[in-house]
């Protein structure tokens, strides 16, 4: 029997990474008997191995709980878990619009962090009712009062509405459930109006095709309903609707206000994109729900199989990943140094790492990845504009009128003693100061505008090391701005290596070039001959290093008992050599192609 809308609460949890979101979700599941203690594993809703290992949430996993509240009513609580990383902020924003309320979880030992704020602002923008929860109050170093004061300061929510809990011990968690049913408004919407359901995720299942996660705003969906996806215009017939408890369980219908899933023989997730609106195929809604846009890749890198015979396998693996990841893009790329591969587009660095790791782990591929770069808008003298996401494809300087690069607004939250170090870091990275705000507990919110290219290298590592781990950051894209940029080429033994080219700020090109060849000198092993390394701009060499020739490489002893072991040692070494890329007569290890990532140590 369908739950009356008045007894439905849809909510999400927003938190900075490691502030205990997944643990709180685990406790809520237990307290509502959605999952028994016996079935309980840590971070139930993080379904991918990768998520558990990294302790981060990449993909959302919604869940429906049933809760008998103190007022005697039985409520349907739909939790929509959200990814906690800036790469997936678009997915976060779509999940938020599927809810009416948000638990804002803040670690009592850490306080308000950059992502807390970014998520909070998104939640406020989505018009959600915010319930702040100070978590981890059981820890000896917890400062719940101070953190509550910070929360009050940034949210304006009165002190008495802030909850205190320990997701680990369960203390205060029932109060969280009570606040949810008491404070979060029930969903509005009309079950009799034309169907409008928001797609907030879609997942590829090899047996059932695409499973689409929806929040029904108006109307109702049942098996057999003919639906249309408004962005693509495609029409399907629904096979199954259901909810997550936390495993998928079929139901008769999903009506206005409810959250669940549907399957409809949809072949890949690109056909049911996050943010799209589902309506009836006939006499559907006139206008989709607001705010849809396709998630656009921000970071690009070349992926090449170490073994060039496995190109086709890489292609098929990327196609399979794309079934489940509409934001991953790829197109063939040919590199003189690395052979045939793909230029891939990612939402951000974490997304890139995840794709790389899945290709290696799930598909058993051995990859060489080139250093990530951003997409540039290159305005040519002939009044045309090209998008360049690969440094080696940059048109000749003479034909370029100007280049624009993507900029982001970065928010950093840091204890005030590191403020100077953070400002210095942002200045070094071509940043422009935007604003600053002091918070309770001696912390500062600092905002800068920076080229995205400066972030994709090792900005996050530098931020962490210069603040001794205390700074947190978040960023959002703010558009394209002109830059004074040049292409830096690297020559190994006199031959240009296209996969090592990069686009850099002219002012710092010399410094970059010097550091890059210096780093390559350490990474590329000695060869039989001396190998000169050069960095050049437009044919002019700006830095040079030399790898001296190898002089001694021999096993001291080789008698009867040594031969088998030493032969095996050499055979392993030979295997390692095979994985290197040969440019001219020089063998270059895979790491070299990522060397530009960390030039500031």
């Amino acid at each position: 029997m369908a739950t009356p809308r008045a007894l439905i609460r849809n909510f999400c949890i927003v938190a900075h990474i490691d502030h205990g979101k997944s643990t709180l979700a685990d406790r809520l599941l237990e307290l509502t008997d959605t999952i028994s203690q016996r079935e309980m594993v840590d971070q139930v809703l993080d379904t991918m191995d990768l998520e558990r290992e990294r302790g981060i949430t990449i993909k959302l996993q919604p869940v429906r709980m049933t809760y008998r509240a103190r007022d005697g009513n039985v409520y349907q609580l739909n939790l929509i878990d959200t990814p906690g990383h800036v790469d997936f902020s678009y997915e976060v924003s779509r999940s938020l619009t599927a809810c009416e309320g948000a638990l804002l979880v803040v670690d009592a030992t850490q306080g308000v962090e950059a992502q807390t704020l970014a998520n909070l602002y998104q939640a406020v923008e989505a018009d959600l009712h915010i319930i702040p929860v100070v978590n981890k109050i059981d820890l000896p170093v917890a400062q719940p009062e101070l953190v509550a004061e910070q929360i009050q300061q940034v949210t304006g929510i009165p002190r008495e509405r802030i909850l205190f809990a320990s997701a680990r011990t369960g203390q205060g968690v029932t109060e969280v459930l009570e606040a949810l049913v008491r404070e979060v408004p029930p969903p509005s919407g009309d079950p009799e109006a034309p169907l409008r359901a928001l797609v907030f995720d879609s997942v590829y299942d090899p047996y059932r095709g695409v499973v689409t996660y929806v929040r029904v705003v108006d109307g109702r969906i049942r098996p057999g309903t003919r639906i249309r996806l408004m962005a693509t215009g495609r029409v399907y017939e629904v096979d199954e609707v259901g909810c997550f408890r936390p495993r998928p369980r079929p139901v008769d219908e999903l009506a206005a206000g409810e959250v669940g899933y549907l399957t409809a023989a949809i072949k890949n997730v690109g056909d049911a994109r996050v943010g799209d609106t589902i309506t009836y195929a006939e006499r559907g809604a006139e206008r989709p729900l607001p705010g849809y846009r396709a998630a656009k890749p921000m970071v690009f890198a070349g992926l090449f199989p170490t073994d060039s015979d496995r190109y086709q396998e890489l292609k098929e693996s990327l196609e399979k990943l794309q079934l489940n990841d509409a934001s991953l893009t790829f197109e063939p790329e040919t590199s003189a140094a690395l052979g045939f591969g793909f230029r891939c587009g990612f939402l951000g660095l974490l997304h890139m790492e995840i794709v790389q790791e899945r290709l290696e782990r799930e598909f058993g591929l051995d990859l060489i990845t080139t250093a990530p770069t951003v997409g540039y808008l290159v305005h040519l003298r002939n009044r045309t504009t090209v998008e360049v996401d690969n440094p080696s494809q940059l048109p000749p300087p003479a034909s370029i009128e100007r280049i624009e690069e993507p900029y982001v607004r970065v928010s950093i939250v840091v204890p005030s003693e590191y403020l100077g170090a953070m400002m210095e870091l942002c200045q070094e990275r071509r940043g422009t100061y935007a604003r600053m705000e002091h918070q309770a507990g001696g912390r500062v919110l600092l905002e800068y505008e920076l080229p995205l290219a400066e972030i994709v290298h090792d900005f996050y590592d530098a931020l962490k090391s210069r603040s001794r781990g205390y700074a947190s950051m978040d960023y959002e894209l703010i558009g394209f701005r002109p830059g004074d940029l040049v292409k830096l080429d690297v020559l190994v033994a006199g031959e240009p290596v296209d996969a090592l080219s990069m686009i850099v700020d002219r002012q710092r090109a010399h410094q970059h070039g010097r550091r890059l060849v210096e780093k390559l000198r350490r990474i590329i092993p000695r060869q039989l001959f001396e190998v000169p390394l050069q960095a050049a701009i437009g044919g002019r060499v700006i830095a040079r290093e030399t790898i001296p020739a190898m002089r001694k490489d021999v096993l001291a002893k080789c008698y009867g008992g040594d031969v088998t072991r030493k032969r095996k040692l050499l055979e392993r070494q030979k295997e390692g050599k095979r994985r290197m890329k040969r440019v001219g007569s020089v063998e270059i290890p895979q790491d070299a192609f990522m060397a530009v990532l960390s030039l500031d140590d």
Binding site: M550, R551, D553, G560, V563
Partner: protein
């Protein structure tokens, strides 16, 4: 030539462990080289990863009986021709009490035919070398002594944890000369942490002053599992980088050439006519029977080859022979004490032949199929042609791994 027919198996049949079977009708090339392993040491040095054990000396008599059991079995089961070389290595063979050494050497003479002029080497630690032992060894036919000096530099000896000193090494050498040894090798090690070119040169010059017939200079290797390696990994010892190692190697090349020694293998130098004949057998892939705990054997029918090795721990070795000294499980098994082994297909056997042959200045007449690879190595200056042979260049000796990587 003795024929071994049918199928022979290497290694004891233990579940889950691959056995190497020597299959088919063939004729093994008879063994002319014999290695005996004596695994006992008074103390285990920090750099050593050999099959050696301290504190087990009381097993020596029992071990000697087992060794004889294995040899008796081998003599009956496998083809032997008159021996050209015998090498008694360790461990520390000089630790054997004189009576036991006497028994071992007498047993050898009684069991195997030994060619006139055969090279019979015994490894000795200067710390356990004395006139009485030397006299026994010499009178029972040992004609080549290999002294593990390693260094004359006290600091280097401390790093290596050798419990002896340069004075003892000199005394042992002089005692050996007095006992009538006319062919003596000194083992030295370079590339030791805290040693530099000058201290190495000093050690080397003291060795040269003694006038040995043969010198082995080994670069210190950090072997996995040794105390030395653990110390390096914990940051207690610096590693000597490849350039510094090379510079010390060049010191050896210069000093020894000036003193009239020929570098005939990567790590071996000698006066003319004194190449170590037993070790040549390894580098030329000639059959060597290895007896004793952990000893390796190499056999070939001229096409394929087999290598197997005995149980390494002395107690395991003893247990395997207990109750069945003499012929083991019959002529069908290669050895009653084998732990494991491998069969080398003809291509791989040939690759080993090329790889090992190019460790020596004599080089080799390359078997067919290696022309392109050798030609490639010639172009980069690591090998050259001398008549019908391929030989390594001086640089090729220093970069032998690069040769090995190309031919394997």
């Amino acid at each position: 030539m003795t024929a071994v027919g049918g199928t022979a198996a290497v290694g004891r049949p233990s579940p889950g462990r691959p056995r190497v079977a020597i299959a088919g009708a063939f004729r093994l090339v008879p063994f002319r080289h014999l290695y005996l392993h004596i695994p006992f040491c008074r103390h285990r040095c920090g750099y050593c990863d050999f099959n050696a054990y301290a504190g087990m000396q009381r097993l020596m008599p029992e071990y000697q009986r087992a060794l004889e059991g294995e040899l008796e079995w081998a003599r009956a089961a496998l083809p032997f021709a008159p021996l050209r070389t015998v090498y008694i290595g360790g461990g520390t063979p000089s630790l054997y009490p004189p009576e036991l050494a006497e028994r071992m050497l007498a047993y050898l003479r009684a069991t195997f035919e030994i060619e006139a002029g055969a090279e019979i080497t015994l490894e000795a630690n200067p710390a356990s070398t004395d006139p009485r032992r030397l006299a026994v060894w010499r009178s029972r036919g040992v004609n080549r002594l290999s002294l593990g000096v390693q260094s004359f530099d006290p600091r280097a000896l401390t790093v290596l944890e050798r419990r002896t000193d340069g004075a003892r090494a000199v005394a042992a050498f002089l005692e050996a000369r007095r006992a009538g040894f006319e062919n003596i090798n000194l083992d030295l090690i370079y590339g030791i942490p805290f040693q530099d070119r000058d201290t190495w040169r000093a050690s080397l010059e003291r060795a040269v002053e003694l006038g040995p017939e043969h010198l082995s200079c080994y670069c210190l290797t950090f072997e996995p599992g040794t105390l030395l390696t653990r110390r390096r990994d914990r940051g207690l010892l610096p590693e000597v980088d490849a350039d510094a190692q090379w510079e010390q190697l060049q010191v050896a090349v210069e000093v020894l050439a000036a003193a009239g020694y020929e570098r005939y293998e990567v790590s071996n130098w000698c006066r003319p006519g004194h190449r170590a004949r037993h070790n040549q057998a390894y580098w030329e892939c000639r059959p060597v029977y290895g007896a004793g705990a952990g000893a390796h054997s190499y056999a070939t029918d001229g096409d394929r080859a087999w290598r197997w090795w005995n149980l390494a721990h002395p107690r395991a070795y003893l247990a395997a022979l207990e109750g069945s000294p003499g012929p083991g499980p019959g002529p069908a098994a290669i050895t009653p004490v084998g732990e494991d082994g491998e069969e080398l297909a003809p291509e791989r056997a040939r690759a080993e032949l090329v790889m090992l042959g190019l460790r020596t200045v004599a080089g080799l007449e390359a078997p067919p199929g290696f022309e392109d690879r050798l030609e490639g190595l010639r172009r980069v200056g690591l090998v050259e042609r001398r008549g019908s042979r391929w030989v390594p260049t001086a640089r090729g000796l220093d970069l032998h791994n690069q040769i090995a990587l190309a031919v394997l």
